[in-house]
Symmetry: C2
Subunit: 238 residues, 2 copies
């Protein structure tokens, strides 16, 4: 019998929704057995894949749902910026937990292990040869990641690298999506600040290969806060 990881190619994600099932810190859902419920709900709702972080969460999700899982771990650069899948041992752990796809930071910044994103991407592809999605924040990073052997790009890090921080805002980074789609024939996954079905559809129409949605589906605390803040703005203006 062929394992699930053998059946999944990047084509499995085309025009699909990838639901990011993550929780942080003291979020009530921040346990594998709770995140699994989101993954199961996403599967029942028609998602094509799950994005998840941390070996324990990935393992629990892979055991429960039959969708491909895009796995990652979260580390930090020395300046405190988020670093998606820091080192080789993280890749090993994510794959061992059952992820069929691995997401890695492919920005030009040097990791604590001394490698830049593109160098890390090519090493991970050489060592494991598994499906790899490169999380990037600019067109140049995207092109370099494809050169290094990434199977797909994701716009995940736009707004989260020091050189794109000014971009963070209410809107998804349509500009980056369009630049990537124009400049390459590689698969470009839209991720980051997609709040509505209309925005997800817009991403596909602009040429995105697939769309990742997280908060708008799987973060009830953050969603509650968005509604509460809207109502509080009324009080301020009353």
């Amino acid at each position: 019998m062929v394992g699930k990881e053998q059946q999944c190619s990047i084509e499995c994600l085309r025009n699909g929704l990838i639901v990011s099932c993550q929780a942080e810190d003291d979020d009530p859902f921040n346990r594998p057995e709770s995140l699994v419920l989101f993954a199961r709900a996403a599967e029942m709702g028609g998602a094509f894949a799950i994005r998840a972080q941390g070996a324990d969460n990935i393992q629990a999700i892979c055991t429960t749902v039959s969708l491909p899982v895009m796995g990652l771990t979260k580390g930090k650069y020395s300046d405190g910026s988020v670093l998606i899948t820091e080192d080789f041992e993280d890749v090993e752990r994510i794959l061992r937990a059952g992820a069929q796809i691995i997401a890695v930071d492919a920005t030009a910044r040097r990791r604590p292990n001394g490698l830049t994103g593109p160098k890390f991407v090519s090493e991970v592809k050489r060592k494991w040869g598994r499906l790899l999605v490169a999380d990037i924040s600019t067109l140049e990073e995207g092109l370099a990641a494809l050169d290094a052997g990434a199977d797909a790009l994701a716009t995940t890090l736009s707004g989260y690298t020091p050189h794109t921080r000014k971009k963070i805002g209410a809107e998804p980074d349509w500009e980056l999506l369009m630049a990537l789609v124009s400049a390459t024939s590689g698969a470009v996954i839209m991720e980051g600040r997609i709040w509505t079905p209309a925005q997800a559809l817009r991403a596909i129409r602009l040429g995105a290969f697939a769309v990742v949605v997280g908060t708008a589906i799987t973060r009830p605390r953050v969603l509650t806060r968005a509604f509460v803040d809207a109502l509080a703005s009324q009080e301020g203006s009353a």
Copy 2:
């Protein structure tokens, strides 16, 4: 020490968000211990109250969060329409589970126990004297419920009674909200088809006393489906 139920008046809900934490059938979250996580997330996100159904769920939520809980049970009329809090024994169970507020169907339809909504409302108020929110679908039903002693109205049933079924659509029933706010000085809670913070704010600006949001915060399966359907519409048009 005074119990929580003594400290809550309808005023506690003014301009606030009430998060409905419900799951149905084979939804992965349809267990008290999972619904509790949504209630906790809602509390951490700044909700003013929780709306929940079923004594087991209500009890679990009341044990875990310190917000007031608006409790109900779901029954059915003979034609299959939903019936919010069918009989006196349901009221007893909901209150015993710890709900500080009780929601009841106050439409003119006759319950299996023979009582119309307004008569049931007045009997429940007479027997227990507790905070009561009347779920209604029309202006006339709202006025009758206030006459019968309801502490507040909720537009919950617009689109779910045979005489309002044509109203069900993508938009909240702004017309009903405005009619109720114009015709009475009673508290009118906006519930039903509120998908965005902007819609919640609009409800308050139109005079709603508070806003209930359910699916948009606590139904990841339904939310996933909404995104998936949007992406599928692209495939159809491609």
